[in-house]
């Protein structure tokens, strides 16, 4: 675990750059994290990010794509448009959460 500074925010990250302390995240930081992976956040992105944050706070783990679609109401197809190629990983990254453990 190392410390890094992104647009003036000093945060703890793992070797892949994911935040290791979700409480260090705020919406301002999300914009910077999204910019790092080439995403400009729209209202649709925010809907997904806020669901992921709220669900993590309640469940203690990052929602899978299936959970985001069935519980969060955002179709998987749209998640692939919003966060291309690797939506689960990119969404967790921008939301300052661990990668989902959907698979073991």
């Amino acid at each position: 675990m190392t410390t890094t500074t992104i647009d003036g925010h000093t945060v703890h990250v793992n070797e892949e750059g994911f935040l290791t302390d979700p409480s260090e995240w705020d919406e301002d930081l999300a914009k910077s994290l999204a910019a790092q992976i080439g995403i400009d956040l729209t209202d649709e992105h925010w809907k997904a990010i806020r669901f992921l944050r709220e669900d993590y706070a309640a469940q203690g783990e990052t929602a899978t794509l299936r959970r985001i679609s069935t519980v969060g109401g955002i179709p998987t197809k749209q998640l692939f448009v919003l966060f291309p190629q690797k939506p689960a990983k990119k969404l967790a990254y921008v939301a300052g959460l661990p990668k989902p453990h959907g698979c073991v």
Binding site: R66, K99, P100, H101, C103, V104
Partner: protein, 420 residues
């Protein structure tokens, strides 16, 4: 009298019934198991059916034969659980009261969840192999398959026995070589993961084995539909993988009655404490084996190790005592790699599969994360152990909790799981 009701007489349910029958005072407890039929499949055997290794009667036995005398077995379809009233309703109207409920109804392949999968090519050129029907159909299809694109595919994690699609790929590659067909077949492995397996060290090792065997690997592929007319898999991000023969692992889901009872998550798995397997919603309900949402492999070995911890915990719980055992997610899986060899992997919630020796540190006779003939013999021998030792609830001299002894720890340990 108090009643323990066990839903599902498969691997986990049968072990729970037999072990608790020995431990609970018979003048104080009745134990009842509910299942829909009397066919108990040895599920790891399905993998070998397409290659003609096992006949169906070697891997399906009578369910009641393995459940101890003195345990009541009820046949019926479960409609729903009323957890507040502690009653299970069967579809034919029967009602079964309980003091404690164990949900052990497993997980099932659901080809209906992917549009087009059950279309005109189902069981013609599109097969699953986690059911007897799929595995026997695939055996016939392979008999007639002599060239083209063979695609092995996983829809979505988690799946029952997460190494099985890799094993199928290795076995198919070896089988094609034996038949003299390997040069005429393109073999492709399609996965929603970003690598071949969920854990980094094993993923790199198994990925290297696919590369050696000239298997094309397509990663990050979340299937949206199967197009039976064009014979292609289509992903959500609009990539396509064409096939002549598709061997798919459909979406896996827990039983529908779990959802109807309001006891499940989005895949009908019962949320439980991952160390005690007690429901997070009701202190009279446990879920064991594939039916629970614990972040461990959905595999018989996990069920076995979990039951070992559960039995003592259950006796404490029903006596009003705190549960002192903590399950660690221990899994132990043989991975068939073709040519009469296999790997063995041993891991838990916190430790990924590592190289080493098992079960005796530094001695073996099994080798971890390495292809050997001894591991293959272990896998074949396990079918007899399953029927004759494991299901009856006899002790197996393997510790329930994972041990680090005999494991080789890499320089920079990485216990992260990969994302879905």
């Amino acid at each position: 009298m108090r009643t323990l009701l066990i839903l599902g007489g498969g691997t986990a349910g049968t072990m729970v019934a037999n072990k608790l029958h020995k431990r609970l005072p018979r003048d104080e407890w009745t134990i009842t198991v509910v299942d829909r039929d009397d066919d108990h499949p040895y599920q790891p055997g399905f993998l070998f059916v397409p290659f003609g290794t096992y006949e169906s009667d070697e891997i399906v036995r009578s369910r009641h034969h393995f459940i101890a005398d003195g345990v009541t077995l009820v046949y019926g379809e479960i409609d729903r659980v009323s957890p507040d009233d502690r009653v299970v309703h069967l579809e034919d109207g029967r009602e079964l009261d309980y003091d404690y409920l164990v949900i052990a109804t497993g997980t099932s392949p659901r080809p209906d969840q992917t549009p087009g999968m059950l279309g005109s090519e189902w069981h013609k050129s599109v097969f699953d192999f986690y059911t007897l029907e799929g595995a026997t159909g695939l055996e016939k299809a392979l008999d007639h398959f002599d060239h083209g694109r063979l695609v092995v595919h996983i829809c979505e994690m988690p799946i029952k026995c997460p190494v099985a699609p890799l094993e199928f790929t290795f076995l198919a590659e070896a089988w094609l070589r034996e038949q003299g067909l390997r040069d005429r077949v393109e073999l492709t492995y399609v996965t929603p993961l970003d690598g071949t397996f969920t854990k980094p060290v094993a993923s790199a090792h198994l990925g290297g084995m696919l590369e050696e065997r000239k298997v094309e690997v397509v990663t990050d592929f979340m299937v949206e539909s199967v197009d039976p007319d064009r014979k292609v898999l289509v992903s959500y991000d609009e990539r396509e993988v064409p096939f002549d023969l598709l061997v798919t692992v459909p979406v896996n889901m827990g039983a529908e009655f779990v959802a109807r009872s309001g006891l499940g998550d989005e895949l009908n798995y019962v949320p439980v404490d991952k160390h005690t397997l007690l429901s997070t919603a009701y202190d009279t309900i446990f879920a064991i084996g594939d039916a629970s949402n614990i972040p461990a492999s959905k595999a018989g070995s996990v069920a076995h190790f979990a039951v070992e911890v559960f039995v003592d915990n259950f006796l404490e719980h029903v006596a009003g005592l705190p549960m002192t055992g903590a399950f660690d997610g221990h899994a132990n899986c043989f991975v068939e790699s073709g040519d009469d060899k296999a790997l063995l992997i041993d891991f838990n919630y916190d430790t990924e599969p590592l190289p080493g020796k098992y079960p005796i540190p530094h001695v073996g006779p099994m080798s971890l994360l390495k292809e050997t003939h001894a591991n293959h013999l272990g896998k074949l021998a396990f079918r007899h152990i399953y029927w004759n030792v494991l299901l009856p609830g006899h002790p197996i001299p393997l510790p329930a909790l994972m041990s680090m002894a005999g494991k080789e720890v890499p320089d920079a340990p990485n216990t992260d799981s990969r994302e879905a």
